[in-house]
């Protein structure tokens, strides 16, 4: 297979544009600017940055009108939010997500069509739903109970709707029991093959390592074997309502010892249910899940005191998720953490869509950009879910992919009809009627950051847009045609936007 360099060959004619040197670029200390920006950030904006898929100005305005705590409460109880427009759109665009299991399996090409529906539905909801914290928690549980979308799509639709989404802000126990009995999970981690004669340890191990206790949660290899025995007979059988079936004929009904608990001989499905209860109620699970929540919402290295205080609430409420989230978002550690999380590629992508109003008309165009960014929804194959820390995403390919995605998402109809058929942005509608370049830069930055740019950054963008002529240069249709897409693209590609 030859490495194609066609794209290089095309380029030789591109050099005509005169490169103006940006006016005596006093090197901006980007890090200092970020520190200043996030150090002075409005607490409500910080909350919206973390709790949503991108702080759109209207969302921030809404949050500010409610106030920090009331906005948090609104998002913690999404049933109080009128999201009927979203629901109508989902019904229209991705009706597959509403079908029953048997209806979904009855579709021709069901695996492919559920993949499309899951992916498109995920993006639609993240961009447009008013229940933003719910969507972020669905994302969290999707990572936590990761199953790639090439495993039994129809069952994944059910898992995501009836387990991960339904209980995203509910009780952990329901998530655990629901995933354990879903055919996609039974297949993905091989428990459908787990029989007394030859136990398969895959689910048993990941249940403790990834879903509950954490790898340092104090279980042994012997516990893995015993848990595998407890789940023998948990399998999939068509013709049942949910696809889940307990087969007593292949269950190991001898006694077992799991994490110090005796499981008496002679039982059936109760063995597995008992194990789920043991691990759901285990203090290591409380700690591990709270650690992951703090890492997701506060910082890559969350203060252990916060993790411990959150875990205490988890234990006290038996795994209720809302009180734990409330504790985290109201904590001083959270308030002090602005700017400490790198946007993951999907954060970046969804945030860019929210900021620019960009919409894809073509699934594969969207898929292509997500693949380049290396975070296709439901595209992570190992069971540990997409990584949650900056170090995993901080590399040269990833950064270049962000720059290019920013340019593709904003370089649209204004100038390029070839790309317009796949993707349209709505930049003009976002900026109002700016009279000068200064106003234009401010308006664009407002859409991206919901805040004013640091002064040095602003003058740099002004210099770019005005070709060095300054903030008072009049905005003309010609200038907008040349500069608007790249202005938005550069704001999204800037280091400041990579953090939140």
């Amino acid at each position: 297979m030859a490495v194609s360099r066609r794209s290089f060959l095309k380029l030789t004619g591109v050099t005509a544009a005169a490169s103006i040197s940006l006016p005596q670029l006093a090197w901006m200390m980007s890090v200092q600017q970020q520190t200043d920006f996030f150090g002075a950030i409005d607490p409500v904006l910080h909350l919206v940055n973390r709790l949503t898929w991108g702080a759109r100005p209207d969302e921030v305005e809404h949050a500010k009108s409610l106030g920090y705590e009331a906005y948090l409460e609104e998002q913690l109880y999404p049933q109080s939010i009128d999201d009927s427009q979203m629901d109508a759109r989902l019904l229209r665009d991705v009706p597959i997500l509403q079908l029953s299991r048997s209806q979904t399996y009855a579709l021709t090409d069901n695996s492919y069509r559920t993949y499309l529906a899951l992916t498109e539905g995920m993006v639609l909801r993240a961009v447009h739903s008013k229940c933003q914290l719910l969507e972020r928690m669905v994302e969290f549980w999707t990572d936590h109970f990761n199953i790639p979308s090439d495993e039994r799509g129809p069952d994944l639709v059910i898992l995501h709707r009836d387990v991960l989404r339904r209980h995203a802000l509910g009780n952990f126990r329901d998530l655990l029991f629901g995933t354990a009995q879903n055919p996609a999970m039974l297949y993905y981690l091989d428990n459908y093959l787990n029989i007394a004669e030859h136990p398969n340890e895959n689910y048993a191990r990941e249940l403790m390592e990834l879903h509950t206790l954490g790898v340092d949660g104090g279980y042994t290899e012997q516990d893995v074997r015993e848990v595998a025995r407890a789940f023998t007979g948990w399998t999939v059988r068509e013709g049942t309502d949910t696809g889940f079936y307990f087969d007593p004929n292949v269950h190991d009904s001898e006694s077992k010892t799991v994490l110090g608990h005796e499981l008496p001989a002679g039982r059936g499905i109760e063995d597995g249910l008992h194990v789920l209860s043991i691990v759901a109620n285990h203090p290591a699970t409380a700690y591990y899940l709270c650690y992951k929540l703090c890492r997701r919402f506060v910082s890559d290295t969350p203060p252990l005191s916060l993790v411990e205080s959150a875990a205490a609430i988890w234990i006290e409420t038996h795994g209720e998720i809302i009180p734990v989230l409330r504790h985290i978002f109201l904590s001083e550690d959270f308030r002090q953490s602005a700017g400490q999380k790198l946007r993951r590629p999907l954060d970046f992508f969804i945030g860019a869509l929210r900021a620019s109003g960009t919409e894809f008309h073509d699934f594969y165009a969207m898929e292509h950009v997500l693949l380049e960014l290396a975070q296709l929804p439901y595209g992570w194959h190992p069971p540990d879910g997409y990584p949650d820390v900056a170090a995993a995403w901080m590399n040269s390919s990833a950064l270049l992919a962000r720059w290019n995605a920013a340019m593709v998402l904003t370089h649209d109809a204004l100038s390029n009809p070839d790309v317009q058929q796949y993707v349209t942005s709505h930049l003009m509608e976002r900026i109002g009627q700016p009279a000068t370049v200064g106003e234009l830069v401010d308006a664009a930055a407002w859409q991206v950051f919901a805040a004013a740019l640091p002064a040095a950054l602003r003058s740099s963008f002004v210099a770019f847009v005005s070709d060095g002529e300054g903030a008072n240069l009049a905005v003309t249709p010609h200038l907008l045609a040349r500069k608007l897409g790249t202005l938005f693209g550069l704001l999204l590609a800037s280091p400041l936007y990579q953090w939140r």
């Binding site: 591109v14 894809f360 370089h411 796949y422």
Partner: protein, 424 residues
């Protein structure tokens, strides 16, 4: 939404990209001179292949000489002993044989440039993929707070420095933990796609803006460092020439879903272009075969063929460069000796490694074979009799010319094994 893959990809290329004659660096910024000093001053180029998921080493390097211990434990999955038929192992040394899908490697083995190490691995007992990979890549079994990888520490401690952005590369969208350290590795998916897109008449200025926004002249944080790497790498890759790469000696890289063949070819491209590459890491995933393994005629067989054909193509393509190249393979753990009821294998312990290159004392299987007798197993799994760090330490010291083994593999007393010729 409509579905229209091909056209979008075609039209996407109509977005402007920077031309061959156009440097990504702003005109006023001094260009960087990073072409490395001559290869002679340095050690080998290391190509490190990680087989993620835990490859079934008992199917890849078949211990047919262990007889019933092997064949009784694998009633349906065992590879027949040499001579049986075309599905049989290809003999190596009268005890071990290559899986037939690795047959393309037999010639390399015969010429002494391929060495097999069997019953090796990371001594930590973890059967967790994630822990075992991390331990192996950090080079510190049992310690997960190390934070840096064995290759990262090698690059940091070796006698020479080399400011090429291509000094250490990871093929793929994410960098492996082994490269973590104070040297910034480059992640690279595709040479052809490694360029900046945008509106043509704004691209030069947009590039200037990015250079400025990320302070690439004096990067002040990790993102800035990555941005600078992007600029340097784009600059070099554009100068690599516009003609399609032609592998030497009729080598044909496999075209596979994991991008392994493509990745190896890009590594070959960079080695031949002499851009200062010292270490390249590449993965082949998908080895976690708990069910329907397909050892001889299914999934495993096909995946193993990708590995074998890829290595053979790289060997042929790089014939002229071989004295300066060492390739190693590793996997986080092997698989359980006894097959499971799902026609697959569960997580195990000991496994094999391959060493390929001009300086390898190959043509043999290095193994203190512990046997597969039930009493010799480690929790049901192949025991480890050769610490993988001893294998790598030898490569680091003798081929990469780095004597600082205490830094590359801290808290480990290295046992010399005599696997490679000291580099002249």
């Amino acid at each position: 939404m409509i579905l229209n893959r091909r056209d979008f990809l075609a039209d996407l290329t109509k977005l402007g990209t920077l031309g061959v004659s156009k440097a990504l660096f702003p005109a006023w910024m001094p260009r960087l001179a990073f072409r490395a000093q001559s290869q002679a001053a340095r050690g080998d180029v290391l190509v490190c292949i990680f087989l993620r998921g835990g490859i079934d080493g008992l199917s890849a390097i078949v211990p047919y000489g262990d007889g019933a211990h092997y064949y009784d434990a694998r009633p349906t999955l065992a590879v027949p002993e040499p001579g049986a038929d075309s599905s049989a192992a290809v003999d190596l040394d009268g005890f071990f044989g290559l899986h037939p899908a690795l047959a393309p490697l037999h010639d390399i083995y015969s010429t002494g440039k391929l060495l097999v190490v069997q019953a090796t691995g990371s001594t930590d007992p973890s059967r967790s993929h994630f822990d075992a990979m991390q331990f192996m890549e950090y080079g510190t079994p049992g310690n997960k707070t190390t934070g840096t990888g064995w290759i990262g520490r090698h690059l940091q401690s070796v006698a020479w420095q080399n400011n090429s952005p291509f000094r250490a590369i990871g093929m793929g969208a994410m960098l492996p933990n082994s490269l973590r350290g104070s040297i910034s590795p480059l992640s690279l998916r595709s040479i052809a796609d490694f360029h900046l897109r945008g509106r043509e008449d704004q691209l030069a200025q947009a590039t200037d803006m990015l250079a400025s926004l990320y302070s690439i002249e004096a990067p002040a944080d990790a993102l800035g460092t990555q941005a600078r790497l992007v600029f340097e790498a784009v600059d070099t890759l554009q100068s690599l020439g516009a003609s399609g790469y032609q592998p030497a000696n009729g080598a044909v890289y496999p075209s596979d879903d994991f991008g392994f063949g493509m990745g190896l070819q890009q590594i070959a491209t960079l080695i031949k272009a002499d851009v200062g590459l010292e270490v390249a890491c590449i993965d082949v995933g998908g080895w976690d075969t708990h069910e329907n393994q397909g050892t001889l005629d299914g999934y495993f067989n096909n995946l193993l063929a990708v590995l074998g054909r890829g290595l053979a193509a790289f060997y042929a393509d790089m014939a002229d460069y071989l004295p300066n190249i060492t390739v190693v393979t590793m996997s986080e753990f092997g698989r359980r000796v006894a097959e499971n009821a799902s026609l697959g294998t569960d997580h195990g312990h000991g496994n094999f490694m391959l060493l390929m290159g001009g300086g390898v004392l190959g043509g043999r299987v290095y193994s203190q074979w512990p046997t597969l007798a039930p009493e010799a197993l480690n929790d049901g799994d192949l025991a480890i009799t050769t610490d993988y760090r001893d294998v790598l330490a030898e490569v680091v010291q003798q081929r990469l010319l780095n004597p600082a083994l205490d830094q590359v593999f801290p808290n480990h007393t290295v046992t010399p094994l005599g696997l490679v010729v000291p580099r002249a």
